[in-house]
């Protein structure tokens, strides 16, 4: 973003990469795939790079309202400083926080999840997609809580899977009834409380029930939880973000 200021360029959208997207090996691949798609669609975008900091979601969901607001207010200062209007992010947690919880603290932006943005790019004809390697393949989709129930975005990711000419196979519990992967509410960063099963195993079993070989994710945490679940179940089902699927279909 600092680079844009120097060259006096105003990017169309700020790509909020998120901490997982910056540091987590699996999520970094999603970041890269999405960036490739943005470039392919000739979207001028910028990232904050080192100036980006945690949105504060895990702090708030842990109960640390103080730390959350520290993060939020400093991020808002940076974003407002660059006069950012449009933000796109591959993380539903960042998406939810930026979209819903920053406005009351003075951060007002048009925030889109990357699945919404990609759908929009396809509809505008800026991103073309003709089946490719997923044509006719059976794919299931896992609704992230913070995209689905939290923000009622159920259709954009599904529309993208259909654009792959793939057969979308729904899980027993999907959309409003979807089962959490187990990572939300800061569970990603702690050991689960005592129980008789891990939540990600329960969800992974539902994925396996669909008898598909591929589960599409739309959240870096879900991605991790389901990948770990598949490994533990010894399953060959692969877990990929929708951005990765589209990038692969386009052979980017």
């Amino acid at each position: 973003m600092a680079e844009c200021i120097r060259t006096q360029e105003v990017p169309e959208v700020l790509f909020w990469v998120g901490c997982a997207g910056s540091f987590d090996d699996r999520a970094k691949k999603v970041t890269k795939a999405f960036a490739k798609l943005l470039i392919d669609a000739k979207v001028s975008f910028a990232v904050l790079g080192q100036e980006e900091s945690c949105s504060g979601d895990p702090a708030k969901r842990s109960g640390n309202e103080f730390l959350f607001q520290m993060q939020a207010l400093s991020n808002i200062e940076v974003l407002n400083g660059y006069e950012v209007k449009n933000i796109v992010t591959t993380c539903p947690h960042c998406f939810n926080t930026l979209k819903n919880e920053y406005p009351s603290l003075g951060g007002n932006y048009k925030v889109l999840h990357h699945t919404e943005f990609l759908k929009q790019l396809i509809e505008e004809g800026r991103l073309t997609l003709n089946g490719g390697i997923f044509k006719g393949k059976r794919i299931t989709y896992h609704d992230p809580c913070y995209l689905g129930r939290a923000n009622e975005i159920y259709e954009a990711p599904r529309a993208l899977i259909k654009k792959l000419d793939a057969e979308l196979v729904e899980m027993r519990r999907c959309k409003k009834d979807a089962l959490c992967c187990g990572a939300g509410g800061a569970q990603m960063f702690k050991e689960a409380e005592k129980g008789n099963k891990e939540i990600n195993i329960e969800r992974s079993e539902e994925v396996i029930e669909t008898q598909t070989q591929l589960v599409a994710a739309a959240c870096p945490f879900c991605n991790t939880m389901l990948s770990d679940g598949m490994t533990q179940k010894g399953s060959s089902v692969s877990v990929k973000d929708i951005a990765q699927l589209i990038a692969e279909a386009k052979d980017l």
Binding site: S22, C54, E65, N96, L105, E193, K194, I199
Partner: protein, 429 residues
């Protein structure tokens, strides 16, 4: 006015008087909570209430259960129209004063009777589901003892009230057939007329006794049930309305932000002068008095159906958390605090630790499944988050893993211990 009219008037006054007293107690209990500030989008809220409370939109997810619930609800409302007549008859000593309406009266009573039979049918199925079928949500740990008895009592009371209504009509119809002067013809009652022949061998005075007893038991039963509500989970028939009216209309992912914290953080970031006159308040919730009145009303509205617990990923995987228990505990604690002459030990037994354990709170994934599934939009998640806020901001007692995560955010702006300078590494990976 005869002696029975006076007794009737006294009974009704007593029933209504007690109900007013209970309502005051209820509002005192709920208003132990904090203010929620100004309420916006009133028109939208009203429509939302119509859809969810009147229309019971979310109940129809399971069609059979939804329809049966609707029948019981509609049956109760319709049959209570009959109360108008009962009140007039009771006070003025008339008998079936509205029967002058003729055919329309018979049609109305017949309709009520059809509903009464449907209500009995539905309630029997509900009883069967609750007590015979193995439906997990009816068999959770928190549903032992009083909550189970309460649920069954409600079902029994409903059946008894409907049977009394039908008995009263059947006996009345039998007396009409005998052309008793006290029982003028009121038309053909669809259901009860079928049972009237049962009285064929009875003496007239016995039938009159049955008719009068059923009539009195019916009205006294309704008054008693009205006052049972406050002690039961059945308050939802009233509170579902305000509960859905005040429900969150913004996206479920939007958690309330704490303005007191905002002021302090702004001061820390030197964005504004610190407000020295700031009153000291407790962050988060340790007890019910730290919650909002809306959260407390949520608790009193809960009819313990357990859809939330059934949908909760933590509960499904054997964790201690049950969103329904969060609501039941909140209600129990709010109720305890309304009592005067509390012993110190009870006064000091806060919602946190004495009712809701930390293990329950830390099992939540904030997935909103409980909020989504609740037919009347109760929000257990908001209480869980408020209580986590207390644990973290007032006691700094988060689980160690979370403390490490928060330290990372403070130190390097990410929940993991990575250097901010490496944020762009993905480009070259």
């Amino acid at each position: 006015m005869g002696i029975d009219n006076i007794i009737f008037l006294l009974a009704v006054s007593l029933g209504i008087g007690l109900f007013v007293r209970n309502s005051k107690r209820l509002s005192r209990a709920i208003l132990q909570g904090k203010s929620i500030g100004k309420v916006d989008r009133k028109k939208e809220r009203f429509l939302h209430m119509l859809r969810l409370a009147f229309g019971q939109q979310k109940m129809h997810k399971n069609l059979l259960v939804g329809v049966m619930h609707f029948v019981v609800y509609l049956g109760f409302i319709l049959i209570n129209i009959e109360l108008v007549e009962i009140l007039i008859d009771g006070i003025f000593g008339t008998h079936r004063v509205l029967s002058f309406l003729g055919v329309s009266y018979a049609i109305a009573i017949s309709t009520f009777e059809v509903f009464a039979v449907s209500v009995i049918g539905a309630v029997v199925i509900f009883w069967f589901r609750r007590n015979v079928l193995i439906i997990a949500r009816f068999r959770s740990a928190e549903m032992k003892g009083w909550p189970k008895l309460d649920a069954n009592l409600i079902l029994v009371i409903e059946v008894v009230l409907m049977l009394l209504f039908l008995t009263m009509n059947a006996a009345d119809y039998a007396l009409q057939l005998r052309e008793e002067p006290q029982y003028p013809s009121s038309g053909h009652f669809l259901v009860s007329s079928l049972f009237a022949p049962l009285f064929d061998s009875w003496t007239t005075s016995s039938i009159v006794l049955v008719e009068r007893s059923a009539w009195w038991a019916h009205i006294l039963g309704i008054l008693a049930f009205l006052n049972y509500l406050y002690y039961s989970k059945h308050l939802h028939i009233l509170l579902a309305f305000p509960n859905t009216f005040y429900a969150q209309l913004t996206p479920k992912g939007q958690f309330a932000s704490n303005e007191v914290v905002t002021k302090e953080v702004r001061a820390m970031l030197s964005m504004q002068e610190p407000n020295t006159a700031q009153e000291i308040e407790r962050f988060g919730a340790k007890d019910v008095t730290d919650l909002s009145w809306l959260q407390l009303m949520n608790a009193y509205s809960c009819t313990e159906c357990g859809r939330c617990t059934e949908a909760c990923p933590a509960n499904q995987t054997g964790k201690l958390l049950s969103p329904r228990k969060i609501m039941m505990d909140t209600r129990d604690r709010a109720e305890i605090l309304t009592k005067s002459n509390l012993s110190t030990s009870i006064q000091e037994a806060t919602l946190l630790d004495h009712h809701i354990s930390r293990e329950e709170l830390w099992a939540c994934t904030s997935c909103n499944a409980c909020v989504e599934v609740c037919p009347i939009e109760i929000n257990p998640l908001s209480i869980i988050m408020k209580m986590r806020e207390y644990i973290v901001l007032e006691e700094a007692a988060a689980p160690a893993d979370l403390n490490a995560m928060m330290a990372n955010i403070e130190n390097n702006g990410a929940p993991w211990a990575f250097n901010a300078q490496d944020r762009m590494n993905w480009v070259n990976d």
